[in-house]
Symmetry: C2
Subunit: 326 residues, 2 copies
């Protein structure tokens, strides 16, 4: 998934990549402020090394049938000082979940803690992006996203759970730390890509539309599904995230974005310094021969981001051409 | 881990088992109200099929060097309408975490949401027990527990993380649903038991005190450790739970019990009915040949509990004798 230099690549400054994304999104009907919100995440995903979660997503948004349906403003349906239920107005998750994270932050800044749920939306991209927003506002952030079924429960022949990511982030004096995983054994985007490239899936993770095990990515992509990561523990986590999605007002097997923001200062002093101490202690674990360093969640991504901010981004020429042609 | 009938077993009614536990705990210095709280969980663990998390734990509590140190009352150090930081007073986690869950419930009932952290305590037993308390009060509950190091980070030669369980529970009209896992690849209690029985650990999960891979449970138990479950995703979750422990006021590599209680009615109507619908939908997933049912987290445990409540508990005679001899 790393964004390496490629012969068919176009190197763009961050500013040029941003302009490319915002212009393309405005051409498919997103107003300037929303185009900026969406592009900001897509650029950040590219900077962090998630090439397929970057500007190519605009092409996927353009093709999605939900994009052609009417959109209304993202609005708060119900709220208290510590909570909000948000109707995403059929706006793509990049926008609706962003508003959810913003509202969770402002309520937690005022009340110490907040829980916010967003429904009537789809596809919110990379969860760590929203959690980092919360973390940069000083919060410990938890974010889960339920989705349409792509994951089979153990013993099942049909997908019943989403790829259901969870992200948990922490402010520290040595920089934000953000855990972010999908609970499927493969990202669904990876499955789709492997189907396009005719690559075989790893053994034991894929099932076709009949529920039979297969390594054929195309068969998985067309009505099949994958296992959860980590056996029954991962399945249970996926199930719990699907259930947390119900707090957002989403239907049982639909997209639901949940945010919990906690101001750590309400509980302990100097949380960011304590967090930096934990990171330093874990990193100081004696290493096995040949191991260069003990990794902390998000460390690799944030380090790459610093480098790419200086060096710019490399995009596929085909993607650049397709975005310009929208 | 199932509590099967055993030739060296003593069958006790729930009431008799409760009296046995409470009496033993009072003899080692716990007042009647705390002995009742501890025993209630130990009995529940046995009813749910967790034999080793049951009355034998009283023997472990009696032997623990922390039990011999001075104890003070569990007290709230700092609080807001939505939070509490609790000093466990060196009381065993069964008592201190119970107070934490109680306070989380009462604050969430009043404010809609609450976060509570407990430090200066140790060993709280089975996380699902506390989460079920929250769920039976109508809350969606999240509970994590950080602990002393028993888990090696990938590439590490020494344990740096606790076995760090996470539990997430939901009220439903078809009964509580509680997800509860440890993030270690084996429960530490299992490792200790296998060391005692001279059993070999599964391949690839254990390391000795030097950080070398081993299947020798005794070598792992004496200064070694195990991997996290589920590869880097499980490691990251373990790391995040260790970090959440910092919100409790615990030191970076010590016991910290965190509770988040959310009143679902603040966000959506009829959460318990929606939850029952999700459970029904997942259970209705078409099954592979030979699969009797699609399982939901906690379903097996709660079903066994109903049966054992009627049939009573079977305890090892040695355990009963040792408890009577305390």
């Amino acid at each position: 998934m790393l964004d390496a230099d490629r012969p068919d690549g176009v190197r763009l400054s961050v500013a040029d990549a941003r302009a490319l994304g915002e212009t393309a999104l405005q051409r498919i009907g997103y107003p300037a402020d929303e185009a900026a919100i969406i592009t900001d995440q897509l650029i950040d995903n590219a900077l962090c090394g998630y090439r397929f979660a970057s500007l190519p997503r605009i092409l996927a948004i353009a093709e999605d049938e939900k994009t052609s349906r009417p959109r209304t403003a993202v609005r708060i349906v119900r709220e208290t000082p510590v909570s909000a239920l948000i109707d995403g107005g059929n706006k793509v998750g990049y926008v609706a979940a962003y508003r959810g994270a913003e509202i969770a932050i402002s309520k937690a800044l005022a009340s110490g803690i907040a829980v916010v749920g967003v429904h009537n939306s789809y596809y919110s991209g990379r969860n760590a992006y929203y959690v980092e927003l919360m973390v940069r506002a000083g919060m410990v952030g938890i974010h889960t996203a339920s989705a349409k079924p792509h994951v089979l429960p153990p013993g099942g022949r049909r997908a019943a759970l989403g790829t259901n990511p969870i992200s948990i982030g922490f402010p520290s004096t040595s920089g934000p730390v953000v855990y972010d995983i999908g609970t499927a054994s493969l990202m669904w985007g990876e499955v789709l890509l492997m189907a396009r490239l005719d690559e075989a899936l790893p053994q034991g993770v894929g099932f076709d539309a009949e529920g039979s095990p297969t390594r054929d990515a195309a068969a998985v992509a067309h009505g099949g599904g994958v296992t959860a990561f980590g056996g029954h523990k991962g399945y249970g986590l996926s199930f719990a995230i699907q259930a947390l999605g119900l707090l957002t007002g989403a239907a049982p097997q639909d997209y639901g974005f949940l945010f919990i923001a906690i101001d750590p200062a309400m509980l302990v002093q100097d949380f960011p310094a304590r967090m930096a101490e934990l990171v330093a202690r874990i990193k100081a674990t004696p290493r096995r021969v040949g191991v260069e360093e003990i990794r902390i969640p998000s460390e690799r991504a944030f380090r790459e981001r610093e480098q790419r901010r200086r060096e710019g981004l490399v995009l596929d020429r085909k993607v650049v051409d397709a975005l310009n042609a929208l």
